[in-house]
Symmetry: C2
Subunit: 319 residues, 2 copies
């Protein structure tokens, strides 16, 4: 089964419509940055996953919409705060909240988005207890992943295992949560809830490694975002860690080159990753995790098809 | 009835003990700043209010301890984030989190504290639904109050009414929430819950105006914290707004003086507030709100006595 672009667009429209309705009244210094952040060009992959999982578990779409929107709010809360931490000034081509206003407004708007996410989740008609518990656990995991990520920035050596543990927390558990909430909204059994949660986590892993890969090898991406700054900031990514592990001297020399002249530095880094099989290693890791993700869905029977198609879609994205 | 200092110390010890137990494991970049922030010299007035309210509504202390600790965590979450927004470097004589680490760690530690507060609240044995709902509403109000406060900083004129609306959100509703949660934990009726919530809000109002008053007139306070910086930053407080309303030219001249030489500026500001009856106005506002707060407690009958004593205690604090 494939997921049609039209169908995904329909889901996206419903999510965006509800996102436009939330928090209509409040101090302007909150309502404006909150809605500005939500109007960004995100693909809404997480709330779509919530809706698809809900459907795969036999739920009705209307029952899961609040949870889906809550996940997107939670995701955007982390983006707004992450952008402050990393002092990033654009995201998806849009000026970040703390840049458009200031750091204080960014902190505050993020806080409000988290609380609004919690309120939105609790508009769900059933299973509010279980939803809230899963939501809090997932949110804390994201903070922990972010803390580890920050810790890694100051360390000269990080192992691939440590890196995977960090992205499980920072990226994986958010997708795991998105899927889990969809299943809970469908009043699925424990086995199905656990299965889709693991499916989401493994997809999240694949997603992050692929993000690291695209960051270096997709021209569209490198033009849009600043691989350069990641490279110069010695940002730990799957590919950089693997490269540092295998050919530390070459990587170090390339980072030096990039500091002087970015373009040749990037080209040289790509060659290193190709020549030492690191690009291939990353691609294998993505495929292995997607395959493992799919294998978590047996309890869904035929209904697993849409989620499998969603995994393929992620696997084949280009930017 | 009076509240003995020994009894309050006992409550404080129990609260501090539980605060020491929370979040024992996680990335060091989170556990350390979280526990550092919680080890500050706060008076724990909010969680004590939760415990006293619970008791006044016939609840058992053990039932309300998690909610009390959740309120203190929520309060500290706001302090850690506020300190980033205001770029304050000390609080209660302790270096602030974002100063000891950095802004990113401050943002993240605050986020984690909010989530842990939610988790702690949900360890309560009963009424978890109502507790969570009240908690989310209270938390959003605090953000809104903070947003208004920030908005006021950039405005040349703020009326006393607007200021009271802001402190109701920023300070009042947090004390209202503290009291409300205690009553909910005691499974109190709607009338009592509403009564103690209003009691807390009105106390919070009195508390903030008194804080503004002590900020200028208590020597202990002006030595410990930086009234100077508030004055120089044109920070809107109850007294400054009332003074600007009555004698704008004198206030402006005094702020200029303080910018050149702080001590004479402060002395002159105190004289202005005394001579124009603004100190008296603030004192009357405090007393009126405390009296109004007490009048909300009729549904508690004799059990109102401890809460009334608590209000007196706040009224008589000196720093």
């Amino acid at each position: 089964m494939t997921l049609s672009g039209t169908y995904l667009d329909t889901l996206r429209r419903k999510i965006n419509h509800r996102l436009g309705e939330i928090y209509p009244q409040g101090p302007r210094l909150l309502t404006e940055p909150v809605h500005y952040a939500l109007a960004g060009k995100g693909k809404r992959l997480r709330p779509i996953l919530t809706l698809l999982t809900n459907q795969a578990c036999g739920g009705k779409e209307a029952d899961a919409l609040h949870a889906a929107v809550a996940v997107e709010l939670l995701h955007n809360f982390t983006l707004v705060h992450d952008d402050i931490m990393d002092q990033d000034h654009t995201r998806h081509g849009q000026t970040t909240v703390h840049t458009k206003w200031d750091d204080g407004v960014g902190v505050l708007a993020g806080d409000a988005m988290f609380i609004i996410a919690l309120m939105e989740l609790r508009l769900s008609s059933d299973n509010v207890e279980d939803l809230t518990k899963a939501f809090a656990n997932g949110a804390l995991a994201v903070c922990e992943g972010q803390a580890l990520d920050k810790e890694f920035e100051t360390r000269s050596r990080v192992t691939l295992d440590e890196y995977m543990q960090m992205i499980d927390l920072k990226t994986g558990l958010m997708l795991g949560l998105a899927a889990e909430l969809g299943a809970i909204c469908a009043s699925a059994g424990q086995e199905q809830i656990e299965g889709v949660r693991r499916f989401g986590c493994l997809m999240g892993r694949a997603f992050q490694v692929q993000d690291d890969l695209l960051e270096i090898f997709s021209d569209a991406r490198t033009m849009g975002k600043s691989l350069g700054s990641d490279l110069l900031a010695d940002k730990k990514t799957y590919l950089m860690i693997a490269a540092l592990d295998k050919v530390p001297d070459q990587v170090q020399a390339t980072v030096e080159t990039a500091r002087i002249d970015l373009e040749p530095g990037l080209a040289s880094m790509r060659r290193i990753l190709e020549d030492n099989g690191i690009r291939q290693l990353a691609e294998e890791t993505i495929h292995r995790n997607i395959a493992e993700a799919k294998s978590q869905l047996t309890s869904l029977g035929q209904n697993a098809a849409t989620l499998e198609a969603f995994a393929e879609l992620i696997l084949n994205r280009e930017k």
